[in-house]
């Protein structure tokens, strides 16, 4: 898949948007930022639901909007799937008819996604004959996602699809979204203000604030960039993406990411299954000598790459470089920083107290 190029501008007095970004044409890209940052406006502009002046959007070699040439493809002619914040199923149609609404309006030769596989993937087989009013919130949202997927879209757009759901329903839907990511090769743009969802799902991130583009890049890189690390609401952290490589009975699970081995408390996962772990900077402590006789399972060798002021007074955010260029953030007190006499290039041992599996 080729990349997406977007440039959106609008000035409505109380709201200004002026962004310019390029997105990879694969994986999940999160449009991330606080409410009012313009992320939903961007998504609606990509879908063609809103026509912003002086704007441009191109997917691969197809130009969907180029106001300098007066080009604007209306939403119904764009090959997109759109999942709204509320499921927005048609109340006059049952689940099956809702699914068919989009499918029937798609030329036969463009139907690349097998309806049955989507129905299985989202677990909505038993719901097909029900009216939307007889579904739970989570079920409705799953049907809405399936309905969008059956359009065999070139691009799947999701506008905070989980924000209207409570924690329990979020946990119910997240695995389906991950499954979608694994099974289908449709690029997804995912709007969210929830750091946990973004960290769990996204491969790539575009950060917006007050209608401006702050940064974009691979999520694993943006997260360890000290300039942006604190923007992930619940604290700076490092993302490890790896595979389960060993299961030691009921004692521990081993994950290998970037040739580093992480040891976790036992997880019931088959070998080779992909896994994403989050290591909070506040859970990482540093030693200038190799710690021995430690209860801590995960100890990595590396060196200090940079040192920044932490978000709290008296704290520092230390970026380490481990093997293979893998970075790790550690949050330590300035007192410790001075006592250990850390400088750029100092060889260091990092102890990771806990690992959150996403």
């Amino acid at each position: 898949m080729s990349q997406l190029q977007a440039s959106f501008q609008v000035d409505r007095g109380d709201f200004q948007l002026d962004v310019d970004f390029i997105l990879p044409g694969k994986g999940i890209t999160a449009l991330f930022g606080p409410s009012g940052s313009g992320k939903t406006s961007c998504l609606r502009a990509i879908a063609g639901l809103e026509r912003l002046p002086n704007s441009f959007f191109q997917i691969g070699d197809k130009v969907w909007q180029d106001e300098s040439k007066g080009i604007f493809i209306p939403a119904n002619q764009r090959e997109i799937g759109y999942v709204f914040q509320e499921a927005s199923l048609f109340p006059h149609l049952n689940v099956q008819q809702n699914l068919e609404f989009g499918l029937n309006r798609l030329a036969k030769e463009k139907r690349k996604i097998e309806p049955d596989s989507v129905i299985v993937l989202l677990g909505i087989g038993p719901l097909l004959s029900r009216p939307p009013a007889a579904l739970s919130g989570g079920e409705r949202q799953r049907v809405a996602i399936a309905r969008a997927l059956l359009r065999s879209p070139q691009l799947l757009l999701m506008d905070e699809p989980l924000s209207a759901l409570d924690q329990r329903l979020k946990r119910e839907i997240l695995p389906y979204l991950e499954g979608l990511h694994r099974e289908l090769s449709i690029p997804v743009i995912y709007v969210s203000h929830a750091a946990d969802e973004v960290v769990r799902l996204a491969d790539h991130i575009v950060m917006l604030d007050q209608g401006k583009h702050i940064c974009s890049g691979a999520i694993s890189e943006i997260m360890v960039d000290p300039r942006f690390a604190e923007l992930f609401a619940d604290g700076a952290s490092t993302l490890f993406e790896g595979r389960v490589t060993a299961q030691h009975e009921d004692l521990m699970t081993e994950v290998t990411a970037n040739e580093l081995t992480l040891r976790l408390t036992p997880r019931p996962l088959p070998l080779e299954s992909p896994i994403r772990c989050r290591l909070y900077a506040s859970d990482v402590s540093l030693c200038t000598q190799k710690p021995s006789h430690s209860s801590i399972l995960n100890i990595f060798q590396g060196q200090v790459l940079r040192i920044d002021a932490g978000q709290q007074k008296g704290e520092s955010l230390v970026t380490l470089e481990l093997a293979k260029g893998q970075k790790l953030l550690a949050q330590i007190s300035n007192y410790s920083l001075n006592r250990l006499q850390l400088k750029l290039g100092t060889p260091i041992w990092a102890q990771v107290k806990s690992v959150a599996v996403l």
Partner: protein
């Protein structure tokens, strides 16, 4: 029921049906436009469309008579088109009646369209439906209670039409004599028994029609957008 009464009922039902059909064809696109427009003339147009609601039927009838009459612009147009003179004809009272009943049809339609909101239209667009496709397959089904209300209100209002019909030339048996005028004739002639028959039927009919409207709306309220 006597043969005269049957003729009157037939003319009345024919009038109400024709008026309802005309109003649907005219009011549906206008109601849709009003529900979607952000034009600053919207209040002006809405007010204009609501005028028949408050104007005395005699005033409406008077001006319609002038407009439709042989010297009025519409009258001259109908003359050129070979439709003949409109006052004192069925076509004439149908047009007058349609104008008078117009707000009763456009308002429920506009309310129904507005209550659908933007979201279903956007969903339909992202699912590949063109605006017309969306109107037929999303807007009309979702606005169904509004259509039923509009139909019943328009039909019943046309059936009860009195003042405007009389002004435009009602009271020609078999042509423009409708129920309410006939009831008036009976009362004038002290034929209370006949008046009772017709008036009583109207009461029952009106009640049943409104019952349909309320039942439909109650059912629709249970099935809100999910």
């Amino acid at each position: 029921m006597s043969e005269t009464s049957l003729t009157v009922v037939w003319v009345t039902l024919k009038l109400a049906s024709v008026v309802t059909i005309i109003l649907f064809l005219v009011a549906t696109p206008l109601a849709w436009w009003l529900s979607q427009t952000q034009s600053r003339y919207k209040p002006v147009i809405s007010a204009l469309f609501a005028v028949p609601l408050v104007l005395p039927p005699t005033v409406m009838g008077f001006y319609l008579l002038l407009l439709l009459g042989p010297n009025g612009p519409i009258g001259q147009l109908s003359d050129i088109l070979g439709l003949g003179i409109l006052p004192f004809s069925f076509t004439g009272i149908a047009i007058a009646c349609a104008v008078h009943s117009f707000p009763f049809v456009i308002q429920p339609l506009q309310n129904a369209f507005e209550s659908i909101g933007k979201r279903p239209l956007e969903v339909a667009a992202t699912l590949g439906a063109s605006p017309l496709d969306c109107f037929w397959n999303v807007v009309i089904p979702l606005a169904r209670p509004g259509f039923i209300t509009a139909m019943v209100m328009g039909f019943c209002h046309a059936i009860g039409e009195f003042g405007v019909v009389l002004m435009i030339g009602g009271n020609i048996p078999g042509k423009t004599r409708v129920l309410s005028v006939q009831i008036y004739n009976h009362v004038e002639a002290m034929e209370y028994a006949q008046a009772h028959w017709l008036a009583g039927s109207m009461v029952i009919f009106s009640f049943l029609a409104l019952l349909i409207v309320y039942l439909v709306n109650q059912k629709a309220a249970k099935r809100s957008m999910a």
